[in-house]
């Protein structure tokens, strides 16, 4: 998977197939998953709060919890659908690449469904040792109107 744009599509497909362990393996050791509360306007994860700012440890916790039959909020289970626009490469520097991917995200559970939209910003690094050839240094999700009151978002945008 040499083209990082294919990697982005692959990453979203893993989430939509609920292959969370495979998805987690895409992250570099120091990788982060970040959903800023100010959306695209947010400068950094620490001067302002975020809907989520998770390192591998917290992502592991999230994935482990989803497997526990006593994750009550997963009865019935949630399913996601990422509808991606074509990713655009914004910057390439040596082994690193940054891409932006506008998306619609649907999360469905039982009779309810939520719709979110925004732009995913991936910071990837080449990783010859992994099957996909890339690792996620950061996946940042800039939601449209991130600070509005939201219902529970249970899976990964």
């Amino acid at each position: 998977m040499n083209d990082p744009r294919d990697f982005i599509a692959h990453e979203a497909a893993l989430l939509d197939e609920r292959r969370f362990d495979d998805w987690l393996a895409l992250f570099a050791d120091e990788g982060h998953y970040w959903v800023p509360l100010l959306g695209a306007a947010q400068v950094d994860p620490l001067s302002h709060n975020s809907l989520a700012y998770e390192d591998r440890l917290l992502l592991q916790l999230r994935v482990a919890r989803l497997k526990n039959p006593r994750a009550h909020s997963q009865h019935p289970a949630s399913h996601s659908q990422h509808v991606l626009q074509p990713s655009r490469i914004e910057e390439e520097m040596g082994d690193e690449v940054r891409l932006r991917t506008p998306f619609l995200y649907v999360e469905a559970r039982g009779e309810s469904q939520i719709l979110l939209s925004g732009t995913a910003r991936h910071h990837l690094v080449r990783s010859p040792s992994t099957p996909s050839g890339w690792a996620i240094r950061q996946k940042r999700i800039d939601l449209l109107n991130a600070s509005r009151a939201l219902p529970a978002i249970q899976l990964f945008i």
Partner: protein, 439 residues
């Protein structure tokens, strides 16, 4: 369908000594009456003065279903007005916050008002000569909320003309705010990092009850705490924990821990949970900060502030306070089955940045719409909202540790798992709901 408005006896019958009727959560009429009789007649948290530092700064916020405007005045005071043009009812501002300059100007017909709401000007003035405009409400400027209390920068309103004074209403539970403010060596907090806002499809009282529910973490949060424990397995108890682990692991502390933390109730529904200790008691010590606290407050007072880390203090019916981390939750009822929950973080002036990071981290891990801890809470509240429609049993049990002697007392200190902390909320509810509607 039962009508409650003109039947105080029917409302009183909904709250028994040790249980409450499901209509408290399900009835649209009860919700309407709560807005009129509970939220308009008691002191409700509106916002924080640090949101409006400069003259002309404003914040818009609904309380009891009414649109309000909190405005910083040129003399430094914080005033609260209804966000409604005296002319035709347009909201003067529709942004959540901003600065209006030296006056408000209605976007519809350009009527203008001073920052305190006094009328300033309007176009085609001659057209009003000989009319009754000046003599009626529409000529008096913006309607002002008369009962506003700014307590250590926390802004509360009582919309009704009649009712208890702020101090009488809250009494000793104000110590929860004092404790949080005291954690700043300079005695000053500012709101920071934004507000996490959640829509939960449940009645607001379920959320507020759960703030005092010490028995649910072991079963409700089992999936999150088991995952955290498995990830942390193999570490010695003395190993320094990442902040997230420090904050999540104590949720699995067990029934005995939660029982022994103790609780205290006060008149009017207020409470402190965790009078002895809480899941927040064992955050890493910060020696330099403690030295700064001792320099500011003296050794004894500093120790007193820092040793108190209650789980939650409830300023009934709108606010839940944690002293450490410096975080509050605000309960904003939207309808019988919909509630807005806000989680705010504070910066304590003169305290290390780590304290603010703790507040934001805790809110993000536990009170964000994406929180793995909150997902199970929210699911269960929404499940109760549906389950209560069942036949056979119309009551919610609050029997744990009920003792008839509690009925005659107002301030009681008890074990942490006593449902008295919830019964006390409903007794205050019944008292407020028996009152006549607000003006």
């Amino acid at each position: 369908m039962t009508s409650y408005r003109h039947h105080p006896d029917r409302i009183a019958a909904l709250v028994q000594d040790d249980r409450v009727h499901r209509d408290l959560y399900l009835s649209d009429e009860i919700f309407e009456l709560e807005q009129e009789r509970l939220f308009a007649n008691t002191w409700v948290f509106l916002g924080h003065a640090s949101q409006v530092p400069e003259a002309g700064d404003f914040v818009t916020q609904e309380v009891a279903g009414r649109p309000l405007l909190m405005v910083r005045q040129p003399d430094g005071a914080v005033h609260v007005m209804y966000n409604r043009c005296a002319h035709k009812g347009t909201q003067l501002v529709t942004d959540e916050s901003g600065n209006t300059g030296r006056f408000f100007r209605c976007p519809y017909h350009a009527w203008t008002y001073k920052l305190d709401g006094a009328p300033l000007g309007l176009p085609l003035k001659n057209g009003y000569e000989g009319t009754q405009l000046k003599a009626c409400e529409s000529g008096q400027g913006l309607s002002v909320v008369k009962h506003v209390k700014v307590y250590r920068d926390f802004v509360f309103v009582r919309l009704a003309d009649a009712g208890p004074t702020f101090e009488d209403y809250f009494g000793e539970v104000l110590g929860a705010i004092d404790n949080m403010v005291g954690r700043s060596p300079e005695g000053k907090l500012t709101v920071g990092g934004g507000v996490l806002r959640n829509i939960v499809h449940c009645n607001w009282k379920m959320y507020l009850e759960n703030i005092n529910d010490t028995v649910h973490p072991m079963s409700t949060h089992e999936s999150a705490t088991k995952a955290a424990e498995a990830l942390w397995e193999g570490h010695a108890p003395t190993d320094p924990k990442p902040m997230a682990m420090e904050q999540i692991l104590p949720f699995g502390s067990g029934y005995e821990f939660f029982d022994k933390m103790g609780g205290r109730v006060f008149a009017n529904g207020h409470s402190v949970l965790g009078v002895n200790f809480s899941i927040h008691s064992n955050y890493a010590q910060l020696p330099e900060y403690e030295a700064a606290m001792q320099a500011a407050h003296g050794v004894e007072r500093a120790a007193d502030i820092l040793q108190r880390s209650p789980q939650n203090s409830v300023l009934y019916p709108s606010l839940s306070v944690k002293g450490s981390p410096q975080a509050i939750r605000v309960i904003r009822p939207l309808s019988a089955d919909r509630t807005l929950i806000e989680a705010w973080s504070f910066r304590a002036a003169g305290a290390p940045a780590l304290l603010f990071e703790r507040a934001m981290s805790y809110n993000r891990l536990v009170f964000s719409p994406m929180s793995v801890v909150a997902h199970d809470d929210v699911h269960l509240f929404e499940s109760i909202q549906q389950g209560l429609r069942a036949g056979g049993n119309e009551w919610v049990s609050l029997h744990r540790n009920f003792d008839a002697a509690e009925l005659a007392q107002s301030t009681i200190t008890t074990n942490g798992t006593n449902e008295l902390l919830m019964r006390n909320q409903f007794r205050a509810w019944a008292k407020a709901m028996a009152a006549e509607a607000a003006a």
